[in-house]
């Protein structure tokens, strides 16, 4: 019986998701009537998020876990609410910022790019 290689499985899944997204964008979306544009754009967006998450792994969670010493985010949320996290506020805030940016790189990189250009503070 062959052993499992999680990273190889994940790479294969990411490749599969990319292929589905490309096929959907090139062949399906272009054939749909205007009335389906909104729904097909939502489907494309979902496929893009899945592709990026499969390709990117869980780096966003890993870095925050390293900073806070807490890999269980449910536990981390409780510690923050109870103000029991022994971490400087500025450090924690910077860590949370980095965590959010890493998640945005997967869910909506366009949002991140727009805000990095400073459009929000124009």
């Amino acid at each position: 019986m062959m052993g499992t290689d999680k990273s190889a499985d994940q790479r294969a899944l990411a490749g599969l998701a990319r292929a589905v997204e490309a096929e959907f964008t090139a062949s399906v979306m272009t054939a749909l009537p205007d009335t389906q544009k909104y729904r097909s754009a939502m489907m494309r967006r979902a496929l893009q998020i899945m592709t990026r998450q499969l390709a990117g792994g869980d780096n966003a969670a890993d870095e925050l876990a390293t900073l806070t010493g807490c890999a269980d985010f449910a536990r981390l949320a409780v510690l923050i609410r109870q103000r029991k996290l022994t971490l400087d506020d500025a450090q924690l805030r910077a860590g949370l910022h980095a965590h959010v940016r890493a998640r945005l790189a997967q869910t909506n990189p366009g949002f991140l790019a727009r805000h990095d250009r400073g459009s929000d503070n124009a």
């Binding site: 269980d72 985010f73 449910a74 923050i80 805030r93 959010v100 940016r101 929000d120 124009a122």
Partner: protein, 353 residues
Amino acid sequence: MRLDERDAQDRLRHWLAQQLGAGKITVTDFSRLSGGAIQENWQLNVDVSDGAFAGEQHWVLRTDALSSLSVSHSRGTEFAILQAVSAQGVLAPRPLFYCADKAVLGRAFFLMNRADGIAQGHKLTRLGLSRGAAEALGRQLGQQMACLHRLGPETKALGVLGPPPEHPARHQIAVMRDGLDRLAASAPVLEYGLNWLEDRADHMNPQGCSVLCHRDFRTGNFLVKDGQMTALLDWEFTGWSDRHEDIGWLCARCWRFAAPELTVGGMARFSDFRAAYETESGIDIDLFALSLWQVMAEIRWAVIALQQAARNDSGEELSLELSLSGQMVPEMEYHMLTLIDEIDRGCWRDDRK
């Protein structure tokens, strides 16, 4: 019960004929309107043969979605709110009839007049209104919100809402934490924001009173036609709160769509809104309180988005729209952290945009 089934429409027509005292009702259109993740809105066009409503009528039927948020009002309460705010002069759809009898459509519903205009935020914030038109709209939004905020807990017709919270901000923080607990959501970023607000909650009710807040007054929930707001929609979250909650929600960064440079819902400048609001209400907007309620707005929309995603994830209501709402949470968290940084560093400037 599906509303597009023939039996449902027959029962609706029969019920309508009784309400209107009309001999014959012909339904010329009954189709679901887009949007409405929490409630369903159906366009209902009817031809009434006689009586007070004789002629062609363009209405909206509003009812619960198959699954709804526990924090949203019942349709009966929403109908009572619409009656009260319409009497106050707020531009809201005119409520017509309420039906609590589930034998008719399987769920409570009400009918209201259909107002004209566009509501979609992505379209509205790309209209390219002239400076004059944007000023007028900003003033109208300020005047309308102030008109709404004249209603206080002493309003008898709004007794259905119960008493106001002792402290609106602390109450809202507790509601958000409870929402996260019910979802079993791991949300360390939102927890951080709630702690930060809790430390400043004493500044979030500067007048020390509660007023009637729509609590979802934002671009996407009001109709605009020819540059004028024609109706404020979706009164399902309305309740007593600090006035800055509504202002902060309308001015939240997450609700500016294509025009983040315009503080008032991506549609107008804050100065125009503020002048009209303060003139109409006689109350000065407290900018620090506003900035704090903006932070709360980002957290609240994030919690609602998580709740929407959970409805899909549980299999209760499979919906790509609901699922994608959950994927937007990092955007609200980004705005929340950015606002917190700006407020702490004294460089928050949304009042100048």
